[in-house]
């Protein structure tokens, strides 16, 4: 009851507009109280901080009220308010991944959520943050999630390993598979400015012919779409041992034009 009085008091002082409610799932809501309203005079804010200190035990030790800096709200709420089906999948993954890989995975789904909500600026900031913290491995995890291969390939593989009666060390089997996917990353390429036409074609050939990928999915966005268009033409007109199974344009967050090209080695017609 005392805590309810605190909530009422904060809302009364800072106004209803200072409360942001983020629904985490059907059972949990995160209430964010912004105490930076320009309507509040600094003397009033000082009184609130003083009140917080007097009531530290009740507010922070017992009721576990936390603090978050204003410039982190969008990114951090994207990380904790992931769709429930993804959170369920991530929880199943948790025992099989190390902390850094798992943290990168949470971020990758957060980036996808922000992009899907057309919050491209925050999505890009979070992607840069992920790369800075978790390096190339984190970047690859993000690329795998971005193109949907995590839930389409890696998660189903975990489930099949878990159901397999013959595999003795299921955790080891999955970790080896996961490392192979991350290290070789054979089935998807995200085209960026640093990739030349020749290098892109070479990457596709190496993955299909040397690394045993059954098909490669090549993704691009914005001005990099030209590279994918070039590759599609190159394969149709000159690379006769490969074939295109899919070429589509789509939008990220309703604004950024993106392309997906799926290529495989040419299948011999059945006789």
């Amino acid at each position: 009851m005392i805590f309810k009085e605190f909530v009422d008091k904060v809302l009364k002082l800072f106004g209803k507009g200072s409360l942001i409610q983020v629904k985490i799932d059907n059972r949990k809501t995160m209430n964010l109280y912004n105490i930076n309203s320009p309507m509040i005079q600094s003397s009033e804010k000082n009184l609130v901080f003083s009140d917080f200190k007097d009531r530290k035990k009740e507010l922070f030790d017992i009721n576990k009220v936390g603090f978050i800096r204003d410039d982190l709200v969008s990114a951090e709420m994207a990380l904790i308010a992931l769709p429930e089906n993804y959170r369920k999948m991530l929880k199943e993954m948790r025992p099989h991944l190390n902390t850094d890989d798992y943290a990168a995975l949470i971020m990758a789904y957060g980036i996808r959520k922000l992009n899907n909500e057309a919050n491209l600026t925050e999505g890009e900031k979070l992607r840069e943050n992920l790369k800075r913290k978790f390096g190339e491995r984190g970047n690859r995890i993000n690329n795998i999630v971005a193109v949907g291969h995590f839930e389409m390939i890696i998660y189903p593989r975990l489930q099949s390993i878990m159901q397999d009666q013959i595999i003795a060390d299921k955790g080891k089997e999955f970790r080896e598979f996961f490392d192979r996917m991350i290290n070789l990353f054979p089935f998807a390429i995200w085209v960026n400015e640093a990739v030349s036409k020749e290098n892109l074609l070479l990457q596709v050939k190496v993955r299909l012919k040397n690394l045993g990928a059954t098909q490669i999915s090549i993704h691009s966005a914005g001005s990099n779409n030209m590279l994918v268009e070039w590759l599609a033409t190159e394969i149709r007109e000159r690379q006769y041992d490969m074939e295109i199974t899919k070429l589509r344009e789509y939008s990220i967050g309703g604004r950024l034009n993106a392309m997906e090209l799926i290529v495989r080695l040419k299948q011999e017609p059945a006789t």
Binding site: I20, R27, F60, I68, D71, I80, D100, I106
Partner: protein, 84 residues
């Protein structure tokens, strides 16, 4: 089904010293967060000393100080899977 509400207070970078004071934490001459009683620098959830200007979150009953960096917050979530 029981509804669970969690609460976060949103603060600005310039108010970090006031937030820290609630938890009896201060700032030393080099800008690092210290415990007011012991004078020792506190560490973040990643075990690193933390500058006051880098304070991003204080969570779960004032014991966990997180750097203003979503990747650090993500590591905090990864270490506590029940948070997800």
């Amino acid at each position: 089904m029981e509804q669970k509400n969690e609460h976060l207070i949103v603060f600005s970078k310039k108010d970090a010293p006031k937030v820290l004071d609630i938890f009896n934490k201060g700032i030393d001459g080099e800008g690092y967060i210290i415990d007011q009683e012991t004078g020792l620098r506190i560490v973040s959830n990643e075990g690193e000393e933390l500058l006051a200007e880098e304070l991003g979150n204080i969570l779960k009953g004032s014991e966990i100080f997180i750097k203003a960096d979503p990747a650090s917050f993500s590591k905090y979530l990864a270490e506590r899977e029940e948070e997800l």
